[in-house]
């Protein structure tokens, strides 16, 4: 094997590690437990050892690793490669990029997990071939990343693309962030389930009621499943989620004029029906002045977007250092 890239997707519980060739083709991947409680140095050592093992297993050596990238939960100081105070991680002021770079003896790129996954889709997934793309993750929260003119947008403090906190309803639902009317408070997985629960508690009839009584709660997946079986409430809740996301697409188009918006995250398991409805509500709400060729699609890399993007950002470092050298 020739030169290889390592991509690291650093989560609070698990760390996913991928080994890629320079064309960003995944060769093999592995994962290790984060054990954040054992400290950052131990975590970096575990990641580096697993990376080297992975490379060995596919016929390479430690020297085959020419660059790496790592994505972590934000916020962090991305310019200086330091985890300051990440959500769900006990690390404080940890120079993770330098630590991993020293240990692997290669340049290491560092960005937040959403930006890294965004870069993965952009370079090797559903965003391939365009210059301007917005990546929207639909999970417990709504987050994302922005590519403009082929570059990741970071904002002045590395905290741009907090897409879930665009306000879509004045004085609307209270979001976990303290704002009212955030798109997240309507269209995330947890709030979609919550809206269904509220409707049940308000006395609306639905096949979801028995489930709520049995389990004490319902999930977004429950809503999708009951919609498929023809439940009217689940139908309406799905529709409202799609409408909020269609409206989000309209506003994002006008701010950044992407050619493509890529939705990702657990919620896209809802499948084609969700995608079709987001497109429908985009078409319904967008201006009539002219017709933009915006494509609205689902992620194609799924869970591998993070490791792919991390390795891809490592490759960018390599390119820029070879240009400068």
């Amino acid at each position: 094997m020739g030169q290889m890239l390592i991509g690291v997707d650093f989560g609070a519980t698990n760390v996913k590690i991928g080994c890629f060739d320079l064309q960003l083709q995944l060769i093999d991947h592995t994962s290790v437990t984060t054990h954040a409680d054992q400290g950052a140095e131990a975590a970096v050592e575990r990641i580096a050892a697993a990376s080297e093992q992975l490379v060995h297993d596919v016929g390479g050596s430690a020297e085959s690793i020419v660059a790496a990238g790592i994505g972590t939960p934000g916020p962090a100081d991305y310019q200086n490669g330091i985890i300051i105070n990440a959500a769900n991680l006990p690390f404080r002021n940890t120079p993770i990029r330098q630590m991993l770079s020293t240990r692997l003896n290669c340049p290491v790129a560092f960005d937040n997990d959403a930006n890294v996954a965004c870069w993965g889709e952009f370079t090797a997934g559903a965003g391939k071939g365009v210059s301007d793309m917005i990546f929207v993750t639909l999970g417990t929260g709504v987050g994302g990343g922005i590519i403009s003119g082929g570059r990741l947008i970071h904002g002045c403090g590395g905290n741009s693309a907090e897409i879930g906190h665009i306000i879509i309803v004045p004085d609307g639902r209270l979001c976990g962030c303290g704002q009212h009317g955030c798109v997240e408070a309507y269209a995330s997985a947890s709030w979609t389930a919550e809206r269904a629960k509220e409707a049940l508690e308000a006395g609306e009839a639905s096949s979801l009621e028995a489930l709520l009584n049995r389990n004490g709660g319902i999930t977004c997946e429950d809503v999708w499943q009951h919609r498929q079986k023809g439940d009217a409430l689940a139908e309406r809740i799905t529709d409202e989620t799609a409408r909020a996301l269609g409206m989000l697409c309209v506003s994002l188009l006008h701010v950044l004029e992407p050619c493509r918006i890529v939705f990702a995250g657990g919620m896209i398991a809802a499948g084609q029906v969700l995608l079709d409805r987001i497109r429908h509500y985009f078409d319904e709400q967008i201006w009539t002045m002219k017709k933009e060729p915006l494509e609205i699609v689902f992620s194609s890399l799924g869970e591998d977007a993070g490791i792919t993007g991390a390795a891809g950002l490592g490759r960018e470092l390599l390119k820029s250092s070879s240009l400068q050298g």
Copy 2:
């Protein structure tokens, strides 16, 4: 005099032309009538002749002009420097950049008028010193420009920063663009006046009523003036405009994380009271998770932002060509 830059702000009625030194200090300025009906070649000749005269008047010669820039009403093909079908201009498929470059014998930059003014504020006005800035023009419509990481954002077709068409109210007021609930349909100068007019027609008492009866219409300036004199309706209308703009700032902050949002255009004549209220409603609506150091300010270049930014973009061309050369 040494080397000079020419900045051209090309409007449907008048063309403003500024002559700048390489530090982007305005040396002198002039204007010519557009006479778009006489065709693009005649317009370019008039602009070039006026530019040369301007340079002569301050002690230079045609050879002193080392670069120029021009901003025109959109939409256009900015990458290729072609006016395709600009609003209020009869030019079609006009390679304006090349025409002016040939005539002035220097590199010419080309962008839409809002981006050019945005670049002016960024390099020499209220946006100086930051890396990420959003420029919002409040006039008949609401438009703008975006600087991210020190660069203008263009989107995939040169039509980003259509900031006025972010939707802030689902199923809200019908905007001229065909959408419902655009920020422009609440907070532009014309819609601010329109909202006041509607309230009067609905029977609300106000000192604006006599004005409406006398003139058959009211303007945004009338609203500001009557607010100053203590009129309650004018007070409420001003407040609603500021609230919509505060909400816009919240959403823009979350998408792009600018350090500064710069408001410009005729409406900022409302003065400090409007700025204070926008800031107030931003503070009221922004999340409580953390405190971003966003500054909300008014334009400092006013009418000169366009010529300054056009000259500034010309200077960028010069820099990049000297780097490549």
